[in-house]
């Protein structure tokens, strides 16, 4: 599968996750979100940016508690929990946010 954006073709897997992490840019994230009827706010971007930084260092998306802790630090303790992350990404922070961040989908019993 693939989609076109600003004259460039982006390859994805069957579920729309970017095939090549290196091709990611912020327009790609915004485009994917829009396809899901989701407008990316600053708080969405905090999550997306953290996912990308973490992936860059560890080659994997962060575990949920690593993510909630980091977001709590950035956006305030009341937002450092999965309930808040699910408000931002109703389909599940691990899967939906990873997709917008250009990361592969987490696999396993999750």
């Amino acid at each position: 599968m693939a989609f076109e954006l600003n004259g460039k073709t982006y390859e994805t897997d069957e579920e729309g996750y970017l095939s090549n992490l290196g091709e990611w840019n912020s327009d790609v994230a915004a485009y994917m979100a829009k396809e899901d009827d989701c407008d990316l706010s600053e708080n969405h971007w905090e999550v997306i940016n953290f996912l990308r930084e973490y992936y860059d260092e560890y080659q994997i998306a962060p575990a949920v508690r690593v993510l909630t802790k980091a977001i709590g630090k950035k956006l305030g303790k009341d937002k450092g929990n999965s309930k808040y992350l699910y408000e931002l990404f109703p389909y599940g922070p691990a899967k939906q946010a990873c997709k917008y961040a250009g990361l592969p989908k987490p696999t396993g019993c999750v």
Binding site: E14, E57, Y58, Q59, I60, A63, R65, Y91, G108, C109
Partner: protein, 498 residues
């Protein structure tokens, strides 16, 4: 995101056998594995040209290897006892999800090519040729069975549809038509050591974070040791325990138990996965290779015991197959069970008075227990028959004052699958997962109404992920599902508090 249009079944006061709806789920198929998911597992990358010959040869091989498969092919008398026992049939009404019909998808081919009657008089014995249509049906309906074995409890001959599904999937993979979800995961275990593909530095970072979190939370310095040479216990647990909720609260519970019991333990970055998807795809060699990492880690770390965390099929593989798969375990301390389940371990400590729980800590909850299929029907806990039913319930009741069981025909060996077991916990099968969860959701709904149940505890990573995803479809909260060891951990009394 993965918008799938389907209707969530309505929950009624009881579960009726549905009206038969032929073909209702014929469209349900998981993504097919790509060459990069197939080849590292020893399977051809894509459909081979002479697929028919390869499939029949593989089938012959499996019939010779597994006497059970041959017996299951021959023994069915079409009594019908299994027809309304499968959660996928109850949730979808598709008659090919009746266990007997699922078996017949293979039986009709078996008869055609492996029995004299089917070779000479195929029409008389329901034998048919192996065609592309048959293969398509196999791919669809052998991925609508979670290998939960509930039907086998009711079969007077004990025919185990799970083994037929496993054989079906193995034949499919061997002609080049594997399932992406399972095969991609097995590949990650072979290269990185766990289903997630969580490398050692990320695992170490995650565990460090958990140590800080627990210390902040309860003021006790509970450790989550990794690759600790010479520890007494190697804990292998599903990698979801590191990654996801509610799983991680179970992992915190195990760590608290080890801490308070004063038993040295370690996780391994090489064997950072208890789950073994090799069993799901029916492939002995991959199952063995996945399990071998655990033996290797135990040897390398010089541990005396191996304990398995809350994971249903991991326990089945460990309990039923490790001995011949990766044994002997003569290097472990024979005074402890090999392997030991984390629930057995905690239960034993409680029996001996080595742990104390304050059940009032969970007074905000009314808890029920979901028996996971692979623990209930594929193995045992403890030394007495039925220990797999009593031990988790004992733990819950020691940690919580309000416990109630769901209806008797939905628990113990009669338990309904969560709907996501057996390699089906993937978003491309969401419709199947939601519909297959209906019988369990119905039983849960009943105890919510009658006893005000607030939480359902489980001891399987798949069950936990599946329920947090599908319960909201039935109007229940995703956080209703929790780990048994979360209850234990929250109720645990630490020495420092005394």
């Amino acid at each position: 995101m993965a918008k799938v249009e389907f209707e969530t079944p309505e929950l009624k006061p009881w579960v009726d056998a549905p009206k038969v709806a032929p073909g209702a789920m014929a469209h349900s198929k998981p993504f097919v594995a790509k060459p990069e998911h197939q080849q590292p597992l020893g399977f051809p990358g894509e459909l081979v040209e002479n697929w028919k010959d390869v499939a029949l040869e593989k089938m012959g091989d499996l019939l010779g290897r597994y006497r059970s498969l041959q017996v299951f092919m021959d023994a069915c008398v079409k009594c019908g006892a299994c027809t309304d026992k499968c959660h996928y049939y109850l949730g979808t009404g598709d008659p090919k999800n009746m266990p007997v019909a699922r078996q017949d998808l293979m039986r009709k081919i078996y008869r055609r090519y492996f029995t004299p009657a089917g070779k000479w008089f195929p029409k008389l014995v329901g034998a048919v040729d192996l065609t592309e249509e048959v293969i398509n049906d196999w791919y669809s309906y052998y991925h609508q069975c979670s290998e939960c074995r509930r039907c086998s409890v009711y079969c007077p001959y004990g025919i185990d549809t799970a083994e037929i599904t496993m054989a079906g999937r193995e034949i499919l993979a061997s002609i080049g038509v594997g399932q992406k979800y399972s095969n991609e995961i097995i590949g990650k275990v072979h290269t990185i050591g766990n289903n997630l593909g969580l490398p050692e530095p990320a695992l170490a970072d995650t565990l460090e974070g958990l140590e800080e979190e627990v210390e902040e939370d309860i003021g006790v310095s509970v450790k989550f040791p990794l690759d600790q040479q010479g520890a007494d216990v190697l804990l292998v647990t599903p990698s979801a325990d590191f990654f996801a909720e509610p799983h991680v609260d179970g992992l915190i519970g195990y760590a608290k138990v080890f801490h308070q019991a004063g038993i040295s333990w370690t996780l391994s970055s090489y064997a950072s996965e208890a789950a073994n998807f090799g069993i799901f795809i029916g492939n002995y060699e991959n199952m063995q290779k996945v399990a071998q990492r655990i033996r290797q880690a135990a040897l390398d770390l010089g541990v005396k015991r191996i304990i398995v965390g809350e994971c249903g099929h991991a326990w089945r593989v460990a309990y039923s197959f490790w001995n011949t798969l990766i044994g002997p375990f003569d290097f472990l301390d024979p005074s402890y069970p090999v392997p030991q389940h984390i629930c057995e371990f905690t239960h034993d400590l409680l029996q001996r008075g080595a742990l104390k729980l304050d059940p009032e800590a969970n007074d905000d909850k009314v808890v029920t227990f979901h028996d996971s299929c692979n623990v209930s029907r594929g193995s045992r806990l403890g030394s007495a028959p039925g220990g797999q039913f009593t031990i988790p319930r004992d733990l819950i009741q020691a940690a919580c004052r309000h416990f109630v069981d769901m209806a008797p025909d939905t628990i113990h060996e009669h338990t309904f699958c969560c709907g996501g077991g057996g390699g089906l916990l993937t978003d491309d099968l969401l419709e199947l997962r939601v519909k297959g969860a209906m019988p369990r959701a119905q039983a849960l709904q009943q105890v919510i109404e009658s006893h005000g149940v607030t939480h359902m505890a489980a001891i399987c990573a798949i069950c936990k992920s599946q329920f947090s995803k599908v319960l909201p479809q039935y109007g229940m909260g995703m956080d209703m599902i929790i780990s048994v060891h979360q209850l234990v951990g929250d109720a645990l009394i630490f020495d420092t508090e005394q």
